[in-house]
């Protein structure tokens, strides 16, 4: 019989205000095997842990239950406390009487009754807990960063500077990401390329960083410290080693009608191209869907003009397989499609554009060479209307329920830049709320209003009506004046909601990292573990986790790097001892367990078994505990009940069921 101690935490008033903790203690003492029970305001505090230590010694506890917050919060705390005091950590169970009880119930009697039942279930389980020893696994001292935007670059640089190898996988022909498309940045008006390019160069020249552009992650297996990743290096049709980046091929290419993705499709590019001048690597790719040679076999002009013979039409996709200890997701964002927002005439009028398109128009390397022009007729706009929250903060099925966070600030930036460069152009911003929480952010917005005369109107726009004369009639409202506004504009800019990159779902599935309903990756804890995925060894950097501006992204990228460095600095990792184990007397070697194991952790060996005096050679399932992740699929599949999961055994779970239904 176990000697069990039950420790009931008040969590200040978080638990004690709704659960009668004294009653829980009283009821615990009536449970079989419970030799000690007590309550304390903060069990997790040092003083609380001292009480636990004393109780373990005084009552020679061989098991313990802590009735407290979620095990996701403090299971590790209490297990370490037990271990320090000579009790195997896996003889500790948590009854979650906070998140699953006191915080969701109001009636004290009801909550107390439930807390008692949860306590009983934990006690029943602990009776059957076995002391477990964590094994060890080696750590591959190399990290993978998926995505080569500012988030990925910063994470990679920080990891590399700490002395670890990092690979960046970027699906576009160049690293740089969204930031490379921006013209200026807030809340100072730095040129985006001027501050990003040095980082790109640093990453490319860093001895610890390997960059795979025009590449995608194809397959991920393994677990923390030991991931195996297949990377598809898409055919570039250009030899990276030979190409000098002279650019002649792009000039000579006769296929020039492909939409330029980097300029958001506002102009065209050649079939062989580098997305932008500062591209890294400065090696073009051939767009196979546009290349005349690859489509028809005729042409070959780029090959003819390439002086170093770098063009290779025979190149094919290549899959490389690499080992990593940690993986960082930095897949970034895109703007949402606006096809459901017909009222704003986007797609109908060329002069209704998104903010990201305006970035390209304002940029010297953009489709208008940096001149602010209407895309319809090339004229300089004299009246520009900005519409905020297009697709953000929506609870209908057209938009996103969240605030995209960056729009208020970049709109202030755009407005200011336009008023600065084109003082004759009037700028009106229709807003719902102006959100400027950030260092120097509100000051920045106020400058737009006070120093640059940008006209901010509180109210949303209902419709943008293109007029026969080519202008746009904006039907808005001024809520403070309580008036409908009809504003004639030459250009309308939509602050379009952002959403996680479309590929992120596929990547999350490969990594078994969880994702929320908006396709943002979920962090392990919303406050305390913001850069870790719940999946061990997977970390989050940048907008893939939630909307962020550049300073926040860079900060989070550094934080993710620190977490990776902390992991890679370890030579060995403790493995989860809650692994599957086969009972050799019951196993009949049928192989069904191996069929369902996602980790290939189960093999079979022929072993001499003594089955009640009968000695014979039998085929027995053997679980490799370093590979087993403890899901339990095999335990339910096993037809003879031989396979069981340590820490979540059939008997333990049934004991919990029985205690709850008692």
């Amino acid at each position: 019989m176990r000697r069990i101690g039950v420790f009931v935490c008040h969590c200040g008033s978080n638990i004690a205000a709704t659960v009668d903790v004294k009653k829980v203690v009283e009821m615990a003492l009536q449970e079989q095997g419970v030799v000690h029970a007590e309550d304390y305001p903060y069990m997790c505090s040092e003083a609380g842990q001292v009480r636990i230590a004393e109780a373990i010694r005084e009552h020679q506890l061989t098991g313990m239950v802590v009735c407290s917050c979620s095990p996701r919060m403090h299971e590790a705390t209490f297990r370490k406390c037990a271990e320090r005091n000579g009790l195997n950590p896996y003889l500790v169970e948590i009854a979650n009487i906070r998140e699953h009880c006191s915080w969701i119930h109001k009636d004290m009697a009801e909550a107390t009754e439930k807390a008692v039942i949860l306590m009983r279930a934990a006690v029943a389980k602990v009776h059957l807990n076995a002391p477990l020893q964590a094994g060890e696994s080696a750590v591959t001292k190399r990290a993978l960063v998926i995505g080569g935007g500012i988030a990925g670059i910063q994470t990679a640089l920080d990891i590399a500077d700490a002395g670890y190898k990092v690979d960046i996988v970027e699906k576009e022909p160049s690293i740089g990401g969204r930031m490379s498309q921006l013209d200026k940045t807030f809340p100072t008006l730095d040129c985006s390329a001027c501050i990003l390019t040095p980082k790109m160069v640093e990453a490319a020249s860093h001895e610890n960083i390997t960059i795979h552009t025009w590449s995608e992650v194809e397959k991920v297996s393994g677990f923390v410290g030991n991931f195996t990743v297949d990377i598809r290096k898409k055919a570039r049709y250009v030899d990276m080693d030979k190409c000098t980046g002279c650019g002649v091929c792009q000039e000579k290419c006769p296929s020039k009608k492909s939409l330029n993705e980097f300029n958001r499709g506002l102009n065209t590019r050649s079939a062989i191209y580098t997305p932008f001048a500062q591209a890294i690597p400065n090696v073009p790719v051939i767009d196979a869907t546009a290349c005349i040679k690859l489509k028809t076999g005729k042409c070959g002009i780029c090959e003819k003009f390439c002086q170093v013979g770098a063009i290779n039409y025979a190149q094919t996709d290549e899959i490389i397989t690499e080992q990593y200890g940690a993986i960082v997701v930095a897949t970034g964002f895109d703007t949402i499609k606006l096809d459901k927002y017909g009222e704003y005439a986007y797609g109908h009028s060329k002069d209704v554009i998104t903010s990201l398109e305006l970035e390209r128009i304002m940029n010297a390397a953009g489709p208008t060479k940096g001149h602010l022009e209407r895309l319809s007729d090339g004229k300089a706009p004299k009246e520009i209307v900005f519409i905020q929250c297009v697709g953000s903060r929506c609870s209908d099925d057209r938009g996103k329920p969240y605030c995209s966070k960056i729009c208020c600030m970049y709109t202030a930036k755009h407005a200011m830049l336009i008023r600065d460069k084109y003082p004759d152009t009037n700028v009106t911003v229709f807003y719902i709320d102006v959100r400027t929480p950030g260092k120097n952010f509100d000051e920045f917005y106020r400058r737009a209003v006070e120093d640059y005369g940008v006209n901010y109107i509180k109210g949303q726009v209902g419709k943008v009506a293109p007029q026969p004369d080519g202008s746009l009639l904006v039907h808005g409202v001024d809520l403070l004046e309580n008036k409908q506004i009809l504003k004639k504009a030459d250009m309308v800019v939509l602050a379009t909601a952002i959403e996680p990159n479309a590929d992120v779902r596929k990547i999350a599935t490969m990594l078994t990292a969880s994702i929320d309903t908006n396709n943002f990756l979920t962090e392990a804890h919303p406050k305390l573990r913001p850069v870790e995925s719940p999946t061990a060894g997977v970390f989050l950097s940048g907008v893939c986790q939630g909307p962020k501006d550049i300073p926040e992204t860079v900060a989070q990228a550094g934080a993710a790097a620190v977490k990776v460095i902390g992991l890679l600095a370890k030579d060995k990792l403790k493995t989860n001892p809650c692994t599957a184990k086969a009972d050799e007397l019951r196993c009949n070697g049928c192989s069904q367990c191996a069929n369902v194991c996602p980790y290939g952790a189960i093999s079979y060996e022929t072993r001499l078994v003594n089955d009640h005096g009968i000695r014979e050679d039998r085929r027995i399932a053997v679980v490799n505990s370093a590979l087993c992740q403890g899901c339990g699929a095999c335990t339910v599949t096993c037809p003879s009940g031989a396979m069981d999961l340590q820490g979540f055994s059939n008997r333990q779970l049934i004991a919990e069921v029985d205690a709850i239904c008692r």
Binding site: C389, G476, V477
Partner: protein, 125 residues
Amino acid sequence: MNKVEEIKTISGVNPLKCMKCGKCSASCPSFNEMDIKPHQFVTYVINDDVEALANSKSAWKCLSCFACIERCPRDVKPGKVIDAARQILIRQRGQEGLSADEIPALLDEETPQQLLMSAFRKYRR
């Protein structure tokens, strides 16, 4: 049932979903005819001031064109609130927006039956 609850029941609208963006008012073809503007409808419900809403001109000015309902980013459907206010009015005797005596003078050669039918539905019980 008090008036606020009645409006909520008839309209099926949860006024608390509104984020006061004004897109309804920006879209409303009757905005200038209304004393209480579309974006204010829900505020009156929230403030329990259904009396003012029912006494306002707006109840008779809404065209039920559903532009506000279509474009509302919060799925609040402000047009349904004003229609519910109108319903409350016409369900009270003597509170109708069109009397039978008025009608002959309002018709012309081309008036389609549809106009008469919908006007009856909108103005009268």
